[in-house]
């Protein structure tokens, strides 16, 4: 099997690029950085839009990054079925770029939150969540001030009906409840997928949960899933 290369996009203000590169290495794959002002994705097999405060999150979180030069290449890559994972700020960028539906609003608490959450893997198998355990929640932390997933009722209903809600905040026992929802996201939505299942956005940080010494290794599965699925894409029903 050829060595899988992950491309990690760096915008000015991005900060989880280094953590993502470390996580990819932990998962056993190669990571390269892609600069926001470049036109090419350098032939990578998978694109990660990492967390941070791209362009200072001025205007709106992710709004300026959605118009960065490299996003043209990311759109083409996604349209061709290439796997794209947006983490935290990267999820905000994907929503602003129209690659995923909905928007991420200020947390219900009106405060930044950094804490461990539990996530239930559900919906259709996507390039990043296929094969992840469905019988127990993943333990992965969040770190954001604007992570409250929101969309109009029709969009939410459509996402739910088509199995595109792929990660949901739950309690340690796997149950959906308000106390386990850290930011007030509608339906406890933590991550959604594109119709093709190749673009996934999530607010929690799987790259922070790839080593037991840091508290959890549940995040490794997302990086491994896309690498393992590289040659035989899986999509929604």
């Amino acid at each position: 099997m050829s060595r899988v290369r992950f491309g990690i996009v760096v915008f000015p203000g991005t900060w989880s690029d280094r953590d993502c590169a470390h996580a990819v290495a932990q998962a056993g794959y190669e990571a390269v950085r892609l600069w926001h002002d470049d036109r090419s994705l350098d032939g990578v097999d998978c694109v990660i839009l990492p967390g941070g405060f791209s362009y200072g999150d001025y205007l709106r979180a992710g709004a300026i990054a959605a118009h960065a030069r490299i996003m043209t290449a990311v759109r083409s890559f996604a349209a061709a079925g290439g796997p794209v994972l947006g983490i935290c700020n990267g999820f905000q960028v994907l929503c602003e770029a129209g690659l995923l539906p909905g928007a991420l609003l200020r947390n219900r608490s009106l405060q930044f939150r950094c804490e461990w959450t539990h996530l239930r893997v559900e919906g259709c198998p996507t390039r990043f969540t296929a094969g992840l355990p469905a019988d127990r929640p993943l333990r992965i932390p969040i770190s954001h001030g604007e992570g409250r997933y929101h969309a109009d009722p029709e969009t939410i209903a459509g996402l739910e009906a088509s199995g595109r809600v792929v990660l949901r905040y739950v309690d340690a026992g796997g149950a959906v409840c308000d106390a386990a929802n850290p930011n007030g996201s509608l339906h406890g939505i933590a991550g959604v997928a594109s119709a093709g299942g190749n673009v996934v956005g999530m607010m929690p940080h799987p790259e922070r949960a790839c080593e037991l010494v840091l508290g959890s290794a549940d995040g490794l599965g997302l990086f491994r899933a896309v690498a393992g699925a590289e040659r035989e894409p899986v999509g929604p029903r």
Binding site: G13, G56, D57, F112, R113, C114, S143, E207
Partner: protein, 744 residues
């Protein structure tokens, strides 16, 4: 503050005359403004520098002591750790969000100016009562500012402490510490050299914000505090993040001679200090400085404290590559001057000379300020007074509840859940423990980090209170299993122009020195914040100690919480505070909560006792004997037991040692007394004999208290609290107080 007002700062008529004699002419307004800020307490340490010379600063691991942007210690294997703590008290009192945020920004720049990558932030913050709406707002906004800046730049905030006490009502304290890592061959210095080399100013444009900030931080508040708002800077963490990354990329660029943060007193201070350290001169042209405001005078440009700026000295051949590096990160760089051999700082605005000052006068010429020092008149009476004023000892359960709900003893999750404490993928143990632990990549070891303020008895026992800060920090490191490497300190005091304030300053510095010498821990960097005073009321002298330690092997570390039922609970160190003068209750948190008083014999500090107890706990953790370890400090044993129970939801049942007898005062001291050199530990029953053997070797008393397990904290005959209720007191105090203040 206007430039004219800044110039008037600390320069009196006599000082101006001295300057004129030295120059052979009257100083220009620009020169007076520059001298005024550089001779301020904040920049020149005119009051404290003779005291600071007494502190121990050397040691085998010290690579860089005080005098640079930050201190540096050797971690072995060509890896260096670079760290410093700094105050931003005055700005935070006036504009809490920006004041606190720019405090974080400034301390970050001090660390990455050394070539290091910042890997951790810690904060020590102090306010008046959180139930007071004004204090609640200030506190919440300072937390917001710290979080906003740290979260945005992607450096984890891994620890800190929050203290509420009416003594800080008018002067809050905001101290920020940054820790960075750098390979030995990439360490940079802020020493200009090589006449003909160019001076670059990079980062943000220069505006009128923060003019006179250093002078403002060197004066007490009076009625016009609100008028000081223009002296507070405004932060842009996005620019700072780009600066950090650009400076990291500079590591491999040749021709960089010096890198310096442009902080307090702006270009004046950064350029003058860099040139003076290197024994050279600088010619600057302020016309080359990019502005964000029109018609700024040379003095305004030289004094501006606009944030997110760095000054570099670069060889001419390297300039193009350096500028390209900043350009890539969207940062412009201005060539604003050249290095000369003149020993003078010459400033011109195009063709017009604005200032021409010898650097030895500007940087090292500030007259020493030696105000008289005198202890408070009521010192002896205050020390002798009964801590509880003869009152009946409180009901233990009710006393514990009040302690926890006062907000200083319980968990500060309300604060640190707003801080990203995980970014960087190295946080093994974040906020909420005795010390934070970061793993060092590629090694089986970690860095342990803590910040601690002194004991509350500091107004009348400043020497022991400051020593207590050092000992508590060292205990916090020992409780996770780490060995101290070095200290950075932030001295927060009232006005030295009051004899009592000056006495407190002298004693505080002496206490820091005592404790650091006794434990053999060097002080490698620090900051002095005086004039924390409003209308003649100063804060208690508050020595905040940041300590960095080494934890090896990484797997052998301990946490606060009881790990499992059935473990043996032991008290390490002096078992009976009632044997000490004041019974550990003088200036204690219990005393504060019960009566608001601050008197009585201060806790004894005993360096030998501290050192041996710390060695014991560290050794026991390394030997794998302990299931949990926790230092005893604020609130004494009762609060330590609460922390240990609530940490992982494991209760305990404690028996009173026979020696206590039935005297309620003795029992109260045992539960709540704040005597140093103590730890609460737990271990599997089978390990207790080995622990006792180690304790005998170190000659440290160890007292068995009881057993872990059950769903309550029970101290037989004194108190029993179900864990659910205890947890609500422990974890809900800050949110509860803010709700009471009308801020949910």
């Amino acid at each position: 503050m206007t430039v004219a007002a800044a110039a008037e700062g600390p320069l009196d008529a006599g000082e101006r005359r001295r300057v004129a004699e030295r120059l052979g002419r009257e100083a220009s307004p620009t020169e007076l403004a520059m001298l005024g800020v550089l001779w301020s307490e904040h920049c020149s340490y005119r009051t404290s520098r003779r005291l600071l010379r007494q502190l121990p600063v050397g040691g085998p691991r010290v690579v860089q002591g005080p005098g640079e942007n930050a201190g540096v210690v050797d971690l072995g294997g060509d890896l260096l750790c670079c760290f410093k703590i700094e105050s931003h008290n005055h700005p935070s009192a006036v504009e809490p969000v920006q004041g606190a945020a720019t405090g974080v920004g400034g301390i970050l720049r001090d660390v990455f100016a050394m070539g290091a990558r910042p890997v951790a932030l810690l904060d020590a913050i102090r306010f008046g009562e959180p139930t007071d709406p004004v204090q609640a707002l200030r506190f919440a906004r300072v937390v917001e500012g710290i979080g906003w800046y740290g979260n945005c730049v992607g450096v984890p905030t891994v620890g800190g402490e929050t203290v509420f006490d009416p003594a800080y009502r008018d002067n809050c304290l905001v101290n920020a510490m940054c820790v960075g890592l750098v390979a030995r061959d990439r360490l940079r210095h802020a020493r200009a050299s090589g006449p003909g080399n160019l001076v670059l100013l990079v980062g943000a444009d220069t505006g009128r914000d923060g003019i006179g900030g250093a002078a403002f931080a060197s004066a007490a508040f009076d009625h016009d505090r609100e008028q000081k708002r223009p002296a507070v800077q405004v932060g842009n963490p996005f620019l700072e993040k780009c600066l950090i990354e650009a400076c990291q990329e500079l590591a491999t660029v040749p021709g960089i001679v010096a890198l310096q943060d442009c902080g307090a007193a702006g270009l004046t201070s950064s350029c003058a200090e860099m040139a003076h350290r290197g024994g050279v001169g600088l010619d600057l042209d302020v016309a080359q400085v990019s502005r964000r405001e029109r018609q700024m005078t040379p003095a305004e440009v030289m004094l501006s404290e606009s944030q997110e700026r760095m000054v570099l000295v670069v060889e001419p051949a390297g300039v193009a590559q350096v500028r390209a590096c900043f350009e890539r990160w969207g940062l412009h760089s201005d060539a604003i001057g050249t290095v000369t051999a003149s020993g003078r700082l010459r400033v011109r605005d195009g063709a017009v000379i604005a200032a021409d000052l010898p650097l030895d006068l500007l940087v090292a010429g500030s007259p020493e300020h030696r105000p008289p020092a005198h202890p408070p008149a009521d010192l002896a009476a205050r020390r002798a007074r009964d801590p509880l004023d003869g009152a009946d000892p409180p009901d233990p359960r009710r006393a514990l509840q009040r302690l926890l709900l006062a907000g200083n003893c319980g968990e500060a999750r309300w604060v640190w859940r707003q801080y990203d404490h995980m970014v960087g993928d190295d946080t093994v143990s974040g906020p909420g423990g005795d010390a934070a632990v970061l793993r060092l990549r590629g090694r089986d070891e970690g860095l342990a980090l803590t910040v601690d303020g002194g004991h509350r008895s500091s107004p009348y026992a400043p020497r022991t209170a400051a020593a207590a800060a050092v000992f508590e920090a060292a205990r916090n490191l020992a409780a996770v299993g780490a060995e101290p490497l070095a200290v950075t300190n932030c001295l927060n005091c009232g006005s030295p122009d009051q004899p009592v304030g000056m006495w407190q300053l002298e004693e505080t510095v002496a206490g820091l020195g005592d404790a650091c010498r006794a434990l053999g821990i060097p002080i490698v960097s620090g900051n002095v914040s005086l004039y924390n005073d409003t209308l003649g009321h100063g804060i208690p002298p508050t020595a905040v100690v940041g300590m960095v330690g080494r934890l090896a092997p990484l797997a052998r570390r301990a946490g606060i919480g009881f790990a499992a039922p059935g473990h043996t609970v032991l008290l390490v160190g002096p078992p009976d505070p009632s044997a000490e003068p004041g019974a550990g209750l003088g200036g204690s948190e219990l005393q504060r909560v019960l009566s608001g008083g601050c008197h009585g014999p201060a806790p004894v500090v005993d360096a030998d006792r501290e050192a041996s107890a710390q060695r014991l706990v560290r050794g026991a953790i390394r030997a794998g004997l302990l299931a949990s370890a926790h230092d005893l400090s604020l609130g004494g044993l009762a609060v330590a037991l609460t922390d240990a129970c609530c940490g992982r939801g494991v209760g305990c049942s404690i028996q009173l040692p026979a020696f206590l007898g039935t005297d309620r005062r003795v029992q109260t001291a045992w539960l709540f007394g704040e005597v140093g050199a103590r730890f609460l530990v737990s271990c599997e029953p089978a390990s207790s004999a080995a622990l006792r053997a180690l304790a005998d070797d170190e000659d440290v008393p160890v007292c068995e208290l009881g057993t872990t397990g059950g769903d309550e904290l029970s101290v037989l005959g004194l108190l029993a609290v179900p864990l659910a209720e205890l947890g609500a007191w422990w974890g809900g105090a800050i949110a509860g107080a803010l709700a009471a203040a009308g801020r949910a």
